[in-house]
Symmetry: D2
Subunit: 344 residues, 4 copies
């Protein structure tokens, strides 16, 4: 099988290449990739060639939100050919203190798809260790399988914010991560879920979902400090500071989105006597089983998020669509298709 | 207002009495009781005059699952006359180490409705401290307000079992507590909820609710040891031991139901290398806000549980109905009614 | 008994007044105050008349780190006359959601000594609820009883930072709170405790205590990012940002000291992929029993911290001593003494 | 180097064999074993050939509490030749859900030294993965390195009992595990540590250590129910039931010792309204770094526990010494010595 792949040779350019078919190690499976979500980080690497200290120094394949079907398996691999799987993109060393403590996402030697220099999933065939290929139940299709990645971010954000049943949850940002964090929060017992956004298109999308409130924050955020949990998913400068002001005493914030600023100014004097806690969110650990369970049983709703679809040859269009398409929510690249024009 | 009250003068007998109207202290409210659920403990006191070390030594008013409307309020009470409230039945000392640590249900000096010598709620008027009268949102009626008590048991059982999102949950017992524990587990993110019961009527009720599986345990429980959480709600001898055998490594059990046996024989040798944890459940602490939030937003379904209704003069019938009515789920006494025949 | 009291009539002035003797409520005790530590917040109120949103608008008695002996007791009070007690200075409402959940320090209606408009402990006689007067074991004298307050801050900081056995702990600031946080961290199983300070006198004090390392941070902090826990106790501008840079992946910071700045600039971009957590520390809840237990058994060392002692008539000298006395660690006011010159 | 090894060919017999020298895999180290503690489980396998479902079906090498020096290392191994290390005896699959969640001790495929069919450490040379060979600081000698294994059990028991600073801790059993659990409890902030034992020799040993109380339980245990934590380390029938009766409301028990009985009868009726929690303890996970840290800094005292020492040729004597030596605390086999007579 030819392994057609979309490659970023340098920032601002995507080229299609035939790459060698991957050969699975004894515990690996080779997945025929069927759907890959486009993430903001992919777009950022495409445009700028770096995110913080992660710098693209050679040709790189982007894409890390992926699902597909096993087409080859190593001798000891757990999943037979034909198994439909969602791919968890970060494979850790399995030996360091973080791995042993269950925080494998903090492993210094993690190999994470589409993070330089590890190639990602905008390709036809991808080899992954079997335990990072999670079998999908029949209720979930490949696109939903790919959406388990941003859902995992949302689940992890809820955990990092120590979300407790009945909590009043404020989510800033109505992109895919914010909307899926909202789904996760609801499924985990949040008493209410309020989402803020600034763009009319994002607000419109949010209003179509089952949320307790959607707030237009374009003119600033003026909510009473009565929220137990803040999930900052927008990455907008000032969003974290504004959200912190809305937390009740004992409130907990999880910071998913971070603006490019290295330094963030926070009103700690204000929230000090409310004894607020702020936790950074970086990826996730062992969230796929939970994500699959919540999605397969309908506790989390993965429908209505994929707004645009592209073939593998249109990967560059998928990466640039956001800039020109205000109503884009989540773009998917479907590698089996060589050509799809982006329409939903 | 006359304060008609159903009194247990001695085991096996209920008489109606006119009692003095309660006068509220400065932070109390007087609640006109509109619905009181009949609990197994009420039936047990009625029949046997004691539960373990709690012994009825004088006339006692039973009933501790109650809701109604504020009809009088102390000068500093938080809720005005007319407020619809659910009553949390255990008022602690507010000063001991347990109270200060947030475990006020373990306060040695707690005053708990219908636990000797504290009178309960089978009455027209009841005075309670304002913070133990939780305002009800309009979505919840008085019967649902009364059901917040067994729902609180279910929520607390989930917390005691450290229920985590995605957990596979086994609940033994399909009475009101088991069924509401199932609702709580689902609302808190359980991946699957399986309920076991032995009587055909209980199994039939369970099968009408949104559960992932209902298992007939009449001939014993033969499930693979793959559950993360066990909530033992049946109190049947042997149920805890049988349930423990179904737990996966790292499994956690919460024991709500306890048979009258003082000593329980457990297969600890078997579950030792699975490192199982077993937590007793005794009442609950600060669950009402969560319960109200989950019920008002439909995350928990309180409908379909009240199977029989009685007037205050039929309290004794309500207490004895279970013995003769196989399809009884939850009996409610509605004190404003002097006479109701028990039909649903 | 005359109740001589040191009063702050306006910022920058302390006068002695005879005040009425307090009369205990039924559950109160009247404590003859024997030792009161001078805290940085007392000094700040004395100088500036406010801390953030807490503003002195009338005469105020300062002092909130106190211990003494019960000299009068209400009819139902738990401690008889003659009981030696340490005073916990914040009495909450006991009814709100925070109180009920065990977070009574976050109660909006808390009455906290020496926080406007509540009078504090620079006085001969003080009435407190019996459960906020903690009996002292014979091993602890009154000054050590007073030091339980800053020790409580240290214990609570460790809890807020979720300190786990074996953790490598970095503490910025070697004032009484920093040094007692170090004692607490050690007693709770820290693997190593490193304290930073900038002034030679503070560094000298720190070097006399049982710490694993003392670091001079005068020229900046240049430590490898290998600490699990940061306890920021200095309140120096930039100290939190500098400390965060020293945290390992998964690190947790507790912020005790806050500079007067409302806004604090933090290097969140840097610590994002280490998934650091930052928790504000505001006072403490139910720490006295732990503090007493750790101090009475020698797990925490309370000796060597009181450097200067003053009589009640020298309270103003005690409040101003820090500005002119580089080797001051903790100043104590001893109210039974009318005149003490401040020497150790 | 000849690899002299003590082998259990069948229950009740130990023979010395020359075995092939182990060859390290790329990430393995070969350890020259210098000290191996004799554990009750070794004695049990020696006598009975099985523990529960673990059955000896062929020749087996016993011993799993080991330390030594690296004498050969795979190409990618982290520790160079000459590194002194303590061996963690259970190597998990690193891939299953338990491994990924940090509970690798619950891995179904764990390879645990001296658990059939995996050979143990009564040998001269042992190959282990580098991350299960923990470098020893110079403060700890090989015997202390071997004692990190039972100390790990004690640390894990404290974690399983959710030991909190200030807790009053009851430990039943004064063997090495009980005594090291006491050390761990103290180092983790226990307010008091009480140890019970029944034999005069064990009581005498316990009285020589820094404990708050030692209680003779030979005539039964009659302590007030005021303990927060129970660590059952004796394995005596009835010890768990007796200990549970001593727990205060909210108390937590960790069960290390289990008698051979499959079924244990517990007074759950009694402890139900105290809401007690009982957790099984099976081995440990990621405790070595903590154990090393606590031992190297003297927070835990590993001295005074090794009472008898044997050469490798006296392994059988080491296994049988306990039956005839009332004052035996911990027997060590020192493989470099061919002949040692057992004296301390």
């Amino acid at each position: 099988m030819a392994n057609l792949t979309a490659v970023l040779p340098r920032p601002g350019e995507i080229v299609l290449e035939e790459r060698p078919e991957p050969r699975p190690g004894p515990r690996d499976v080779v997945v025929a990739v069927e759907a890959v979500g486009v993430c903001g980080s992919d777009v950022h690497y495409y445009r700028h060639g770096r995110i913080g200290s992660f710098v693209v120094t050679g040709p790189l394949v982007l894409g890390h939100e992926a699902a597909g079907t096993v087409v080859a398996a190593g001798a000891e691999a757990a999943h037979p050919v034909g198994t439909r799987v969602a791919i968890e993109p970060g494979v850790p060393c399995r030996r360091c203190g973080q791995c042993r403590a269950g925080s494998y996402h903090l492993c210094r030697d993690i190999q994470f798809l589409a993070t330089p220099p590890v190639d990602g999933a905008f390709t036809r065939l991808l080899a992954v260790p079997d335990d990072f290929a999670h079998p999908l139940p029949e209720q979930l299709d490949a696109e939903q399988g790919a959406l388990l990645e941003p859902l995992s971010v949302g689940i992890w954000a809820c955990r990092r914010a120590d979300l407790r049943p009945g909590d009043r949850v404020l989510i800033s940002g109505a992109g895919p991560v914010g909307l899926l964090a909202a789904e996760a929060a609801r499924a985990l017992g949040a008493g209410s879920v309020t989402v803020t956004a600034v763009s009319p298109s994002r607000l419109a999308v949010a209003r179509r979902r089952r949320l307790d409130a959607v707030v237009d924050a374009a003119g600033g955020l003026d909510l009473a400090p009565e929220f137990d949990v803040l999930l900052e998913c927008s990455g907008a400068p000032g969003a974290l500071a504004a959200g912190l002001r809305c937390l009740a005493p004992g409130g907990r914030a999880a910071v998913v989105g971070l603006s490019n600023e290295d330094e963030v100014s926070l009103p700690l004097g204000l929230v000090h006597d409310r004894e607020v806690t702020v936790g950074m969110v970086f990826r996730y650990a062992h969230t796929w089983p939970t994500a699959i369970s919540l999605a397969a049983t309908g506790r989390v709703d993965l429908t209505g998020l994929v707004s645009h679809r592209f073939g593998l040859a249109q990967t560059e269009a998928a990466l640039t669509a956001g800039a020109t398409t205000p109503d884009l929510v989540k773009a998917m690249v479907l590698p089996p298709h060589e050509s799809l024009d982006g329409a939903a």
